[in-house]
Each structure stands twice: as C-alpha cells, then as structure tokens.
C-alpha cells in the first residue's frame, strides 16, 4: 500500500515502509495503547475504591470549566506568568501535534482506505504543514522556558525542600529525575520530529515545503551538508523508527509518570468542589470511630484520590502556605505527595517515587508518614486550595485527618483544654456565659437584648469581640458608630455560643455541631431581618455552614454594613487623610470573596490605601486560623511568625500610619506582632470600625478610658 502521489502538494507517510514493517508498527501501537489503557484502568479502579464524596451537580458547567481553564491556562498562569507561558507553549504544541497525528491517522487508516476520500493535500496540506511546524517550535521553546526555570532560575517552589523533615531524612532525587526525564522525552520527541521533517525535505526538496519553515530550513542545511537522496532516505528511515518508538513508549508511560497529569488534572478541575474547605462535610451521627475522618488510605474519597494524582508538583501551594514559609513542619505539596505515594503503594501502580515504608490500604498512615505536627501546623487559611491550578483540596484533606486525631484524642493538651473549655462555658475564654454582654456596660446607650425585643439587625459577636479587652474597644467603637447611624440592632447576650468555625477546622465536628445547633436554636427564636458580625470567622460559619443546621439568613460582615451606611449617607465621615495598608482576613477574603467592601470603606474615610504585595486572594494568614491560636507553638525558632512577617511586609512599604484589619483575631495577632517584630512606634494597628468612629468626630474619651481601665485589670485571653 505505497502512498499514491496526488497531483498537488502532499507527502508520503510511513517513510516507505514495507508491509511487514507496517504490520510491526501497528502491533507496537496496540502494545503501547494497551499498556496505556491498563495503567489508566489501574488509576480509575483506585478512584472507584474511594469513599463517596459530593454529588457532581451541573455536569455541563463542570466540563465547560475544565475546558476553559485548560485552554486559557487562567489557573496555571496565576502568580507565575513565565511558567504559565512555558506551559502554554508546551500544551498547545503538544495538543496541535497530537491533533495533527490524529488527522493523519484518520486520513491513512479510515478516510482513504474505507471512504476512498483523500483530503491531505493541496491547501490543506500546506496549512497543516505550517501549523504543525510552528507549534512544534512552540513546544521546543516552552520546554526551553521550563528547563531554564528548573535548571537556572531554581525558584523556591521547585526546590523540593521539605519543612517537615530534617536534612538527609528524605530523598527527592527520584522526583528530580522524573521531572527532567519528562522534559527530556518531550524534547527528544520534538527534536526527532524536526529531524524527520528535515530528512524528508532533503530527499526531494520540493519548493512547497517552505510552508513548513523550520523543517525546510533543516532540510536546506542537510542538503548544504551533502545529505540528500539515498543517504537522506536511510537517515529518515532510522529517525522514523526512533521517533515512532519513542512516541509509543511515551504514550505507554503516561499512566506511570508525571505525564498522567495531562489527563487527571483537567478531570480534577472538572470535579472540583467549589465549596471545598469553606463548607466542611458533617460526620454522620451514627459513624463508628474508625469511620471518622481519614486515618488510612482506604478512607479517602474518590475526589481526594483524584487530587493526589492531579498534583504536578508545581509548588504554588508550597510557596503560598504561611506554615511552610514561617518554619512550621508542613508543606501542602509534600503532604499531597506523601499521600500519593501511599495511595500508589496501597491501591494501584507501585511507584518508585516513595520513601519507605508503604502502608496497606487499611493501615494507619497517621504518625508515619503523615505526622500529627504536620496536620496541626495548618492554619486552614485556604491559600493552597485557592492557588492550586488543578483543584486539589488540601484543606479538607488535612481537616479529615485532624478529625481522626481528635477522635483518637491525639492533640496537644492546650488544644484539648480549650475544647473542653468551649464545651463547658460555650466560649474559648472560659468566661461565664453571662459576661457575654458585659462590654455594653461602658456605652452610654442600651444595647437591645434581641431575645426579648425585635431589631432589624442581629449582631453576632464571636468570642474575641466579646471577651478580649483590646477587641472589646473595637466592639464598643462599632456599637457607637451604628448607634450614631441609627441602626436598629440587638445581641443575644448569654445565649450566644462560640460560632464553631475554628472548632470545626480543628476537627472536633461533634462540638461544632452542638455549638451550631445551640446558636441556630437561639437565633431562630429571635426576630430580625439580617445578621452581621465583625468577626469574619463567625460571619463565615453563620453564612455558609449554618444552613446545614437549618439556619438560612442574610449574614453580613460589618464592613459591608458600614459601606451601606456610608453610601446611604447615614454616616458622614470627615476625611482622615492617613496612609494605611489593609490586611485581608482569610475567612473574609478567600473564604467569602469580600475584598472590595473594606477597601471602599477606607476610601470613603479619605484614607490612602497602599497595598502590600500579598493582597486580596494572595493575602498571608496571620497564623491564628484553623485553631492554631489555641495550640502550642510548632515552628522552628529561627523564622519569624507569620504575623511578624506580615508586619515586615507592611513596614517595607514606607511610612504608614496604620495597619488596618477587619477581624478580631487579627487585632490580637498583629498587636502582638507589632511589638515582637521590632516595629513598635513605626506603625499602629486599627480595626476599620475604630477609624470610622474617629472620622465621625464623636467624643470617644468615655469609652476608651473605661475600657483601658478594665484592660489593665483584665486577664490574658486563653
């Protein structure tokens, strides 16, 4: 079946192979795709063995998202445009060459022999040649970009340093070899492809092949070097086999190497849960202790097993994680890789890339290789989930493993004490329930008890805003602002409990459930239109997690309420003229996407906002989240704490008047960090409400003095 020459431009395929050679080629294709299919089946079978997760709602939207994010590279390009460009070139190069091969296969194996229809000539052939030639070049350039990044620029995120292991305790050489092999194999395929084109052109050198410019250039070089005719013919034959076998080998290797991400990662994006980490799944009431959370590989949901394979080791989470960069024994990347090694060892393709020991499917992985201190280092700030280009859910995976630790009572005594305190007193400070509304006594007006009389707004305070002396000043400032604006609001007094946001993130789901039920019951008995809170943790959980317990209300953050009041002209601020920076709280920003309201309030107060390099979705956690504020220190001594790094970041912007926050835990963390980071006197902390109050030019002496006096008598928070 030698190729018939068309009257116009085309070329011979199959390098003039004989019949048995062609036969051998098709056998190799079958072997290669067979190995590929077997490997992919092993992966699929692994996912099918996972626990059930959420339902895949709106499949059309999911597929659309996977396609558009893959084609646009919008997630891959974020915070690293160079690697994004490199990947884009490789991706489109690879895809176009793959489609080109598919077109050829369609023409040779289907259209012509079966339909008797030949389209691979004339203008189509020329366009095809040009296209594939250019995208082949794109592939090579893209590989070059990645090689430069990996080999010369060596960014932090690609260095494989593990914060949770000592030097010498781990070996990442297999990963490094895998990475370079992947680049090398792709480069080899592109190179042999171009050589093949060059040899082919050198044989007959038809003019129209100038439409494949780089191949043509190579061809001319070969001719100039004396390689043409018969010698070019044999060079072509050899190269054809080398290229072909390498390509088939690559296809067969896909399920067993990092190349599998080409298939699994888009799938991961498609099945991604938009609420992952933000809204955690309840534990069924009748679950047995061994069914609570994740303690073995067999416990993982199918989605989380997909996540493990989707990881490309790009290190964006490693770079974004506040725990990793401040010396805690946690890197979200290494956690995922450890789990992947275990999953491969227990349920699928046994990878060479692991550190012993591997555990059986139902053997505990907590302790080794997943160390408890790694899990407790997480601040559940969502920086990793938010930046992951392939939709990996590190935060809920960590949360599930914490649930198992809590179930087994394996947690640090400080945390255990706090949970017991919350259980007995309903708040993390161990204060009496009746003291919840004590802060109102310093005000010169009554704050409604919403249990007894209706109000337009129910103000849910949260523990820090209620009991911590510094935060009480903010709470009082906000109360005065709202009173001045004529806002009708009331509080729950003794009936308010800790909202449970951090209790849930610690992994004590039972206590969270009980707190949520009590709060939902108390709130449901009141008459109001909307809820607001200045604590983003309470705001988040009431807004997004209480619907699981029947609490469906309109919940606002106070910055949103303040903005409404400013826009409605109910607050008339005088311009303050300070220069400030603003820290986005994780639970307000990444969890709820509220980035603009606080900034608009600051603008309305006549403040000049200077943004820190890490702002909005890239905001850097203060270090308190995920219950970390209740635990003992786990980080190394030689790195500053996250909050201290953040103050350094702010003061590096030049002279600022205030470091502005909108979260009670931020008030606590950054008041401390300003003192401990050596920037005392350079910058001061203000919560937005305090600036609003100042801009109203009311007499603030009374509140401040009373609170100051109590602060000196008050006890330290838990």
């Amino acid at each position: 079946m030698d190729v018939l020459f068309a009257a116009d431009e085309t070329r011979k395929t199959f390098a003039n192979l004989g019949l048995w050679e062609k036969g051998l080629w098709y056998v190799l294709i079958l072997v290669s795709t067979g190995i590929f299919a077997w490997g992919m089946w092993r992966h699929a079978r692994k996912y099918l063995r996972g626990r059930s997760a959420f339902t895949l709602d709106r499949p059309g939207r999911r597929v659309r998202r996977a396609v558009t994010t893959t084609l646009s590279h919008s997630w891959i390009r974020r915070r690293d445009p160079v690697a994004g460009l490199g990947h884009l070139l490789i991706f489109y190069g690879f895809v176009v060459l793959f489609i080109g091969t598919a077109i050829l296969a369609f023409q040779d194996d289907f259209a012509r022999p079966i339909l008797g229809f030949d389209f691979w000539h004339g203008w189509f052939y020329l366009g095809y040649s040009l296209f594939l030639d250019l995208f082949g070049v794109a592939l090579v350039v893209g590989l070059g970009v990645m090689a430069v990044k990996r080999g010369i620029l060596k960014p932090f995120r690609l260095d494989y340093w593990r914060p949770d292991r000592a030097e010498g305790e781990y070996d990442r050489k297999p990963y490094v070899i895998g990475d370079w092999t992947f680049l090398g194999v792709l480069f080899f395929l592109a190179l042999t492809g171009f050589l093949l084109e060059g040899f082919r052109i050198a044989i007959a050198n038809p003019d129209f092949e100038v439409w494949a410019p780089f191949g043509w250039l190579l061809g001319q070089m070969f001719i100039a070097g004396g390689l043409e005719g018969g010698s070019a013919e044999s060079a072509r034959l050899v190269t054809w086999w080398v290229h072909g076998v390498a390509a088939l080998g690559f296809v067969a290797s896909i399920p067993f190497t990092k190349a599998v991400h080409m298939l699994v990662s888009p799938a991961g994006v498609a099945v991604r849960d938009d609420t992952a980490g933000k809204v955690l799944a309840p534990i069924p009431a009748d679950a047995k202790p061994e069914e609570v959370g994740y303690g073995t590989i067999a416990d993982l949901s199918w989605k989380h097993l997909v996540d493990l394979d989707a990881c490309t080791k790009c290190g964006k989470c490693h770079e974004a994680c506040p725990a990793t960069s401040s010396g805690y024994p946690l890197s979200p990347r290494d956690l995922i890789l450890d789990l992947r090694e275990q999953a491969e060892g227990a349920m699928g393709i046994r990878s060479a890339l692991h550190l012993p020991p591997l555990h059986e499917e139902r053997e505990s992985i907590l302790g080794d290789p997943i160390r408890p201190e790694t899990l407790w280092s997480c601040m559940q700030c969502m920086a990793c989930v938010e930046i992951c280009p392939v939709g990996i859910e590190h935060v809920p995976i960590i949360n599930q493993m914490r649930r198992r630790l809590v179930e087994q009572g394996e947690m640090d005594p400080l945390l255990q004490g706090t949970l017991e305190t919350i259980y007995t007193s309903g708040n993390s400070f161990g204060e009496q329930k009746r003291k919840r509304g004590r802060w109102t006594r310093d005000l010169d007006f009554e704050v409604k008890d919403i249990r007894k009389e209706p109000a337009e707004h129910l103000w849910f305070l949260g523990d820090y805003a209620s009991f911590d002396p510094r935060n009480q000043r903010v709470t009082q400032a906000l109360a005065r602002v709202l009173n001045h604006a004529g806002v009708d609001f009331g509080i729950l007094y003794d009936a308010e409990r800790n909202a449970g946001c951090d209790v849930r993130r610690v992994g004590e789901e039972g206590l969270f459930t009980s707190l949520a039920e009590e709060n939902v019951k108390a709130i449901s008995a009141c008459h109001f239109e909307r809820i607001f809170s200045w604590d983003p943790h309470s705001f988040h959980t009431l807004r997004n997690e209480y619907p699981q317990f029947g609490g469906t209300w309109t919940v606002l953050h106070h910055t949103q309420l303040l903005l409404e009041l400013l826009e409605a002209g109910r607050l008339m601020p005088k311009p303050l003229g300070y220069t400030v920076t603003y820290h986005d709280p994780c639970t307000l920003g990444r969890y709820n996407g509220v980035y603009d309201a606080p900034r608009q309030v600051l603008a309305a107060l006549g403040l000049e906002l200077r943004e820190m390099p890490r702002n909005r979705d890239n905001s850097f956690c203060c270090g308190a989240g995920g219950g970390r504020i209740w635990m003992q220190e786990l980080k190394r001594d030689d790195t500053p704490r996250p909050a201290e790094m953040r103050i350094d970041e702010a003061t590096s912007l030049g002279k600022l008047d205030y470091f502005v926050v909108a979260c009670p835990k931020d008030v606590t963390m950054y008041e401390d960090a300003i003192k401990t980071s050596g920037h005392q006197g350079e910058i001061e902390l203000r919560e937005i409400s305090e600036l609003v109050l100042e801009s109203l030019d009311l007499d603030t002496v009374a509140v401040g003095a009373a609170a100051d006096e109590r602060e000196t008598n008050g006890k330290e928070p838990v």
Binding site: A287, T424, Q432, R434, G510
Partner: protein
C-alpha cells in the same frame, strides 16, 4: 476488676455573684456547670486500670439532679461502662457527710474492688466526701493519691504530702483512694462520644436513709472588704522605707 468512681457536677462562679432570696445559696443565674476537675483524673485512672487488667467495669456514681447527668455523660464518653445517679430533694445543698451516706448505700450494693473519688470538689472545697465514704464503707483509704501500682490483693500507692514529699503506702484491696490531679492525662471525650454515651445506662436511685445532716448553711455573703489597706507607690526606696515604718509601728 470493678471500680466505682464518685464524680460531681460542680458549679463555677464568675467575678459577679448574687444570692438567692433566703441568702443560703448562690443565685443559679450566676453559675455555670462543669465536671469537677479532679473527677476527670479519677475516671481516667479507673479506665486505665480496667484497660490494663483487660476485664472489668468502671461505674460512675454521682449525687445530683438530672442536670448532673451532663457531667456523668462525659465520664461515660471517656469510656466508663455505666452510671448511677442518686437523687432526692433532701440532697439539695447537702453536706459532704450526707452525700457520702447516699453514695455508700449504692456502692455497698455494687461491691467494687476499688472506689475512687476526687481529692475535693472545686466548688465546695471540703475534701471530705471521699474520706467519709471510706469510713462508711469500712474500707482502708489513702488520700491525695498520685500513683497506683496494683499487686496481688494489695496496692502500692503514692500520696502527696506537704512540701513535695511523697509517702508510699501499701494497702489491702478493696480500698478507697482520693485521686489528685496530675496523676495522668485525662483523655479527651469528643462531643460525638458524649452524644453516643447517651445510649449508655444511667440508673437513677433514691436513697433510703440519709440520717441527720452534718451541718446546715445559715447564710452566704460576700465579706466586707478589709479596711485599712494602704497602697504604696513611689520609688523602691520610698516603698521600702514605708514598709519598714509600718512594721515598726505594728511591732509596738
């Protein structure tokens, strides 16, 4: 191995207090409730002994109204096998001896190898119930125990004395120990476990004969703040000088 642990739901007080109209108790509005701290240690110790011996039963016993079951649930959630709650209206505000009588009646029936109680309760701080109970049961008792080692028909226990001295004592079994905090690390009872402990049995018993109360509360009040306190300020030198003057004055 059967161990009975006597536990108590205690009241905790904030920095404000008001009394009931008859001035004999604190207004419940000013109280929160919790499991007595010592009792989580004695429960843990009982559980560890049971688990080490591989068989047996831990029974928690408490004197209190229905609300006290919350504290008992926590012990059950930690791993205790069942509970017995003793209550009659006559036990409202009862003194330690009366409480011990109520406990003794039930514990005698159970015939345990060991009886554990906390050294004291954090709210009334009398350290009397446990030792009174030993007397009523006719058991040898060791108070303020910080370590227990079981032998054949005997137990060797450490008890804490003043000034960090430890007294190692050998006692015959059965015996009663009052357990000191710090003897172990009490396990965490998850809320899930506490919920599931609702399925464990708590038997309610009414005591038959409580006898005469050992005392009655006549009045509760906040004592007058002591007058005559003098705050000293100024430099260290001035303060020292003033202290010296005061001491000399008082020694006259």
């Amino acid at each position: 191995m059967k161990i009975v642990v006597a536990v108590k739901q205690i009241a905790t007080l904030g920095d404000e207090v008001e009394f009931t109209d008859d001035e004999r108790a604190v207004d419940p509005d000013f109280l929160d409730y919790a499991l007595n701290d010592w009792d989580s240690f004695s429960t843990e110790e009982a559980l560890q002994i049971r688990d080490r011996s591989g068989e047996g039963e831990v029974v928690v016993v408490s004197v209190g109204d229905e609300d006290a079951e919350e504290a008992m649930r926590r012990c059950l959630a930690m791993g205790a096998d069942r509970g017995i709650r003793i209550w009659s209206d006559a036990l409202d505000g009862a003194d330690p001896i009366t409480v011990a009588r109520a406990l003794a009646e039930v514990i005698r029936r159970e015939g345990p190898d060991f009886v554990f109680a906390g050294v004291q309760s954090a709210d009334s701080v009398q350290a009397a119930t446990g030792v009174a109970l030993a007397e009523l049961l006719g058991l040898p008792r060791v108070a303020v125990v910080t370590k227990i080692e079981l032998g054949d028909g005997k137990a060797v226990v450490d008890r804490e004395l003043e000034g960090g001295i430890v007294d190692r004592t050998e006692v015959d079994v059965p015996a009663l120990f009052t357990i000191q905090t710090g003897i172990n690390e009490p396990r965490y009872a998850t809320l899930r476990a506490i919920k599931q402990a609702e399925q464990k049995e708590i038997e309610v018993v009414e005591p038959s004969d409580l006898g005469e109360p050992a005392y009655r509360v006549r009045r509760m009040y906040v004592p007058e703040k002591g007058a005559g306190a003098e705050m000293l300020d100024g430099s260290a030198e001035n303060v020292a000088q003033r202290i010296a003057e005061i001491v000399k004055e008082r020694l006259k």
